[in-house]
Amino acid sequence: VSEHIVSPRIYLGIILTLMVLTGATVWAATLELGPLNIVVALAIATCKATLVILYFMHARYSPRRTQLVIIAGIFWLAILIFMTMADYLTRSWQHM
């Protein structure tokens, strides 16, 4: 009965990275980047979420089947967001 045990050293490295990224996103929010502010904030958030999924949630060490289910779920979420925004962002006849 073997399963992959993630070592505390890796968890420590991940949490430190997450804290640094949190500091970075707060700092980036004070800069004037125009439309890029939201892009930077969401990019950093996605980096943090990816680290949590891969290491804290063991996705990296999970069976392929589980990984496929996770990716399919995220893909479904992407469809939800992409299709809805493709609609709302192109309603040029409306004053949004």
């Binding site: 968890y11 949590v52 589980t66 967001i81």
Partner: protein, 227 residues
């Protein structure tokens, strides 16, 4: 028999049994992801429609408290991951320690949330009859969006709805942690049977990820604009 990690009849190996449990948890978390995804989408569409009011509303949030809470919740994910490690590695005495730390950090997060909510009540920023955006914040914004008071209430409805649902998930998580704590003190979790700790861990980390997105969307992205 059913709670000691013995093999159920419909599985061939313990490993297969464990993978099935974790897969089932992931499927549940994906339904959660789509549930929260729909709410995030509602926020995005409305922010797109009323950028001035949403910006003004966002800047009334307390960045220091929000940032502190983000760090607290990330730290709680770390202690939760350590509880999973302790149970997988057979460090029986460390499991209740890390679970307790996770519970304390989760409690701090909810406590700070209570402070933030009460500030919003004091400042008349809860949607309803007494809602009123402060003049100094909305002076410049009012020129751009005459209906700012109405649109800002939409922001705060979403703020309370999203952070409230997140907090509700944390409260459920705290209940699960207390349940795990009870089991861990009795020595229930061993390297052969750490599934409950692992699955609650997955849930706790998921709730952390929801906050990882809530924090920039609610507190950060309109911070750089003035007025």
């Amino acid at each position: 028999v059913h709670r000691t990690g013995e093999l159920y009849g419909h599985y061939q190996t313990l490993e297969q049994q464990r993978e099935a449990s974790s897969l089932g948890m992931w499927v549940f978390l994906i339904t959660e992801m789509l549930f929260f995804g729909g709410i995030f989408l509602t926020y995005t569409v409305n922010r797109q429609a009323y950028p001035v009011a949403f910006g003004a509303g966002s800047r009334t949030l307390d960045l220091a408290l929000g940032g502190f809470n983000t760090a607290v919740l990330l730290a709680s994910s770390f202690t939760m991951a350590m509880a999973v490690w302790a149970s997988q590695a057979g460090k029986k005495k460390l499991i209740p320690l890390f679970l307790t730390l996770t519970l304390i950090l989760g409690g701090i997060f909810l406590g700070v949330k209570v402070i933030e909510y009460s500030q919003k009540f004091e400042h008349h920023l809860v949607p309803g009859r007494s809602f009123h955006m402060p003049e100094d914040v909305s002076a410049a914004a009012l020129a751009q969006d005459p209906d700012l008071q109405t649109h800002a209430q939409l922001f705060f409805s979403l703020y309370f709805g999203m952070t409230g649902l997140h907090a509700l998930h944390m409260i459920v998580g705290a209940g699960l942690l207390i349940w795990l704590l009870r089991g861990s003190v009795r020595g229930r979790f061993t390297p052969d049977y750490s599934t409950p700790v692992e699955l609650v861990g997955l849930y706790w980390h998921f709730v952390d990820i929801v906050w990882i997105y809530l924090f920039p969307l609610l507190y950060l992205i309109d911070r750089h604009k003035s007025g």
